[in-house]
Structures are given as structure tokens and as C-alpha cells.
């Protein structure tokens, strides 16, 4: 009896000690990755507390396939070097005045694009991407809903975006597009009269620049006729996390990463955008370097 009481007492003291120190020991014992790295949790979903080692799905065949693919890409890059820049003869690079960067001519062209909506932050908009008639254009369609659901968590809603995937070279290294020979963006599209925003992302270095985008407006006409849109790169302005920056500078075209189209006009209802191709061209008549004022803040008087 005395022994049982002593054991109980010891256990109680031990439990109390653990409970008292758990608040201080917890961060040391089980590190909360979300607290450190600020992981985003989609509203309505529980936080993912699975440790990283449990998420590994090891497959030897996949590994071999990956190695073969990447070494093949590396070999192609080495061979391309003997041909010229980006695997084309230099004379082609010197003489080209237009370049079709993306065109939608088959199912594989849709693999290069990502569609996302405000569903990721808890909204109710929908967007889908498919090939148009005769596999000659892509159609982005869906429904925009700018009213956030009443779940107590979601604050904002009402956007959808189509963005090109980051190009990757061998071993998943980022590959950027060099548009420095061109000065105008040329898109052939057919919209529904809604205003869209074109976003171009360039390669950045600092972490505070990761949300930097260069934007310009795209007003679609709607109707049965295709629309040719020519936007000089000098018109693109800098924004970060959706906010236009005071300190503006022109877009440097030698390291472009992605291009995207965003709809966020706060008009609920269906939308549709067809894109035939996205190209760049060199308009010799356009000599403007940058359309916006670059001023010095706090000038000395």
C-alpha cells in the first residue's frame, strides 16, 4: 500500500514536472515548421503536421528515369552550344524581329501553364483551361465570385490567373528567357470585354523581391473577332504583392521568367479568354525607354 502510494506520488510529481516544463520544452522537442517558415494553411483545411521524412516516396525506377532525363538535357545543352545561342544559329538571332514564345497547338502546350484562383485562399471562383476548336487556341474560362465565404477565416476573394510555368533546364535549374532584342509584347486573343492584367515576372535576387511583377492592363473587346494586342515593354510598371511601387524602374528583358494573365475586376459571373499565341516583336518606331516618371524621393533643396 505504502509502495503503491509512493509510486503514485512519484508519478504525479513527474507528470506535474512534465506539464510545467512542456511549455518551455515544446519548442525544443518538436519544432513547429509553420512557426519558423510561415507556411500557408488553406482556410478550411487542417494544418499539415506530417514530418518531412514521412512524405518521402522512394522509387528506384523513377530515380533512374530522372537521372537519364537530366543527363540527356545536359548533353543537349552542351551540343546546342556549338550551334549558337539557345540552340539556334547566331545569324538567326541577329536577324529575328519577331518571336512566337507560346502558342497553343496541342495538348502538350497546356502543360506549360498553371491556372489558379482564389480557391487557394478560401474563395469560390473557378477557372479551367482547355484547347479551343481545332486545337488552335487555348480557352481559359470559369466563374468569378468576389464575395468571400462566411467561414470566419477568408478575407479576400475574386481573382483568377493563368501563368506560364518557370522554364527549367537540366537538373531543374531555372532557365530565363532573353527578350532583350525585342521591345513589344504581341498577343492574339479573343476576350469577353473584361479588363485583364498582364503580369511579367523577371528573375530576382533578394527575398523581398520575390513577389515583384511588372504589370499592364489588357482591355479585351469581346465579340467574334480576334484582337491583336501590342504592348511595349516600356509601359509595364512595377508592383509587389499587388501594390504599385513608388520607386519605378523599367523591366530588364534579359531574364524574364514567366508571363501571366489575371482577372480581378470585381464583376461576378462567367468569363472567357481565348489566346492564340503570345509573341514578342521589335517595333523600330517605338523609342520610349520607360513611360513613367522616375523621381528622386526627398530631393535636396
Amino acid at each position: 500500500m505504502a509502495l503503491t502510494s509512493a509510486r503514485l506520488l512519484t508519478r504525479t510529481v513527474h507528470e506535474k514536472w512534465i506539464c510545467a516544463h512542456s511549455l518551455t520544452l515544446r519548442p525544443l522537442v518538436c519544432i513547429n515548421k509553420a512557426a519558423f517558415y510561415g507556411e500557408y494553411r488553406r482556410p478550411g483545411q487542417a494544418q499539415d503536421r506530417t514530418p518531412p521524412w514521412k512524405k518521402i516516396r522512394f522509387s528506384f525506377a523513377k530515380g533512374v528515369q530522372g537521372i537519364r532525363k537530366h543527363f540527356g538535357l545536359l548533353k543537349d545543352e552542351a551540343m546546342e552550344r556549338w550551334v549558337g545561342p539557345q540552340g539556334r544559329p547566331l545569324i538567326e538571332h541577329m536577324l529575328e524581329q519577331t518571336r512566337v514564345q507560346w502558342e497553343f497547338r496541342g495538348p502538350e502546350s497546356l502543360e506549360q501553364w498553371l491556372v489558379s484562383t482564389d480557391r487557394e485562399i478560401g474563395g469560390r471562383s473557378e477557372a479551367y483551361l482547355k484547347l479551343g476548336r481545332n486545337d488552335s487556341a487555348c480557352m481559359l474560362y470559369g466563374t468569378l465570385c468576389s464575395t468571400p465565404p462566411r467561414d470566419g477565416e477568408t478575407c479576400y476573394s475574386g481573382y483568377c490567373t493563368l501563368r506560364s510555368r518557370q522554364l527549367l533546364s537540366s537538373f531543374d535549374r531555372k532557365k530565363n528567357i532573353d527578350w532583350s532584342s525585342f521591345n513589344t509584347l504581341y498577343i492574339r486573343l479573343r476576350g469577353d470585354g473584361r479588363p485583364w492584367m498582364i503580369n511579367i515576372a523577371a528573375e530576382t535576387y533578394f527575398s523581398h523581391q520575390k513577389d515583384d511583377l511588372y504589370n499592364y492592363f489588357l482591355y479585351t473587346r469581346g465579340g467574334p473577332y480576334w484582337q491583336d494586342v501590342k504592348i511595349p515593354f516600356s509601359k509595364f510598371f512595377l508592383s509587389s504583392r499587388g501594390r504599385i511601387q513608388d520607386n519605378q524602374h523599367p523591366l530588364w528583358l534579359d531574364k524574364v521568367s514567366t508571363i501571366g494573365f489575371t482577372l480581378g475586376d470585381k464583376a461576378d459571373g462567367p468569363f472567357q479568354l481565348e489566346i492564340d499565341f503570345i509573341a514578342v516583336c521589335n517595333d523600330r518606331a517605338h523609342t520610349e525607354e520607360f513611360a513613367y516618371e522616375m523621381y528622386k524621393r526627398n530631393p535636396e533643396v
Binding site: 552550344r81 556549338w82 549558337g84 545561342p85 539557345q86 547566331l90 538571332h93 541577329m94 532573353d178 532583350s180 532584342s181 530576382t204 535576387y205 533578394f206 523581391q209 515583384d212 520607386n247 524602374h249 530588364w252 534579359d254
Partner: protein, 270 residues
């Protein structure tokens, strides 16, 4: 060594505001990368010189004799000037700058590290110097092959020329000095010509012929001189270096250097 290190640090600090004056994120990126590499190299120099002073009891620049200290300071100076395999920062940094600052970076900023390299030339590891030189010449030729941006092209040209300078350092430092002088002259010509034409891409050079034929001819001759084509001035240091390498019974090294010069000449001619 302490005063030399201080001089190098002041040199780096002085050019940082010049590089960042453009107020563009790419210029800031270039400045940051430059500062990080130069500070690392300066710290390595300080570490090596302190190690040499601790073991050998000597602070003199040309009395550095501890093998580890000598190797470390050679690698640090190679990082300073952008010798392969410590060259990765140079094309990106030059690309982010305007042509005037790029000129200063390619010419003036090489003088201080070379002054130290020349002083320690007798104590450096010959195999290390040969490796650095051959690697730089090959990387400079290979890297510049498909460049369409002129600043990156000149960066790879710089790496290749530095390789030529370093390879002959152990046999005849006077040739290194000659090569450096001629390189500075030719590179200054190139940068100033490109600045007058305000061109940073190969395409704009192609269109320059009807606008400024004299300047275009000058640029062409400068490029051929950089490539080492006789009878232009740039041929002389390369010829003398190859001659000296042959005299020192290094035919394979001389052949590799000549082949890499052909690579460089290929992209200059284009």
C-alpha cells in the same frame, strides 16, 4: 599584409557606391554579389597572412612562405580578380552595371590584386597557377561562345585573358605585366567605344555600320586584337607567352592555351 588588406578593402568600399548608383534592382544585385565575393577574398587574405605571421613570424608580402598560407592567398587573389573556377560572379556582376562602371571593374579593380600576385609570384605553387591559368582560358572561351550580351562577352574575355596572365607568372612575371597592360588598353577601348554607341547587345552592334562606320571599324579591330590575331597588338603577349611556355618544356600546356585562344577568337570574330 595588413596594409595591403586595408587597401583592398578601401578599394572595394570605394567602388560599391559607384556600382549601386543606378538604383535598379539588377545594379543592387550586382553590387551585393561583388561585395560578398570581394569581402570573402579579403577575409581569406587576412586569414592567410595571419597564419603565415603566426607560423613564420613574417608580415612581409613577398616573404609569405608557409605552403597553406601561400595557397590560400593565391586562391583569394584569384577570387578577387575572377579567375576560374572562382569566376562565376564576374559575368553577372558586369551585366548588372552600366558600361562606365564595368570599365572600371574590368581594368582598375584588377591592378591592386595583381600588384600582390606579382609580389608573391616566386612563392606560389606552380601546379596551382597552371591549373588556374588553363581553367580560366578554357572557361573564358567556352563561356563566351554564345553570349549575345556584350558585357557578359567582355567578362568571359576578361576571364580568358586573366588565365593567360596567370599561366606565365611563375616563369616570367614581366610578361604578366605586359599582358595586363595591353589587356587594360584593349578593354578600355572596347568599353569606351560601346559607351559611345550606347550598345549592350550584339544586335545593336550589327546595326551600327551605317551610323558610325569609323567606330565600328575600331571596335572590330579591338575585338580582333583581344582575340590575339596578328598583326594586331593583342597577338604579341600571346605569342611571347607561348614561346616562353615552349622554352619551359610545356608543349601540352601551350597547345591547350592556343586552342582556347581559338575558341575566344571564334566568338570575337562573330
Amino acid at each position: 599584409w595588413i596594409l595591403a588588406w586595408m587597401g583592398l578593402e578601401i578599394n572595394t568600399m570605394a567602388i560599391i557606391p559607384l556600382m549601386a548608383q543606378q538604383h535598379h534592382p539588377r545594379a543592387t544585385e550586382a553590387t551585393t554579389k561583388y561585395f560578398l565575393t570581394q569581402a570573402t577574398a579579403a577575409a581569406m587574405i587576412l586569414f592567410a597572412s595571419t597564419m603565415n605571421a603566426w607560423t613564420m613570424g613574417d608580415w612581409n608580402i613577398n616573404q609569405i612562405s608557409h605552403p597553406l598560407a601561400t595557397t590560400t592567398v593565391t586562391l583569394a587573389l584569384a577570387l578577387k580578380i575572377g579567375l576560374a573556377p572562382m569566376h562565376f560572379w564576374l559575368p553577372e556582376v558586369l551585366q548588372g552595371l552600366n558600361l562606365t562602371t564595368g570599365l572600371v571593374l574590368s581594368t582598375w579593380q584588377k591592378l591592386a590584386p595583381f600588384a600582390l600576385i606579382l609580389q608573391i609570384s616566386q612563392n606560389t605553387n606552380p601546379a596551382l597557377l597552371t591549373t588556374l591559368g588553363v581553367t580560366s582560358a578554357l572557361v573564358g572561351g567556352w563561356g563566351g561562345l554564345n553570349q549575345t550580351q556584350l558585357r557578359k562577352l567582355l567578362a568571359y574575355s576578361s576571364i580568358a585573358h586573366l588565365g593567360w596572365m596567370i599561366i606565365i607568372l611563375q616563369f616570367m612575371p614581366a610578361l604578366t605585366l605586359l599582358n595586363l597592360t595591353i589587356y587594360i588598353t584593349m578593354t578600355s577601348t572596347m568599353f569606351l567605344s560601346l559607351k559611345i554607341m550606347a550598345s549592350t547587345k550584339i544586335n545593336s552592334l550589327a546595326l551600327a555600320w551605317p551610323k558610325t562606320p569609323t567606330l565600328t571599324t575600331l571596335i572590330m579591330l579591338s575585338l580582333l586584337s583581344l582575340g590575339g590575331l596578328p598583326p594586331l597588338t593583342g597577338f604579341m603577349p600571346k605569342w611571347l607567352i607561348l614561346q616562353e611556355l615552349a622554352k619551359q618544356d610545356l608543349p601540352i600546356t601551350a597547345t591547350i592555351m592556343a586552342m582556347s585562344a581559338l575558341l575566344s577568337l571564334f566568338f570575337y570574330l562573330r
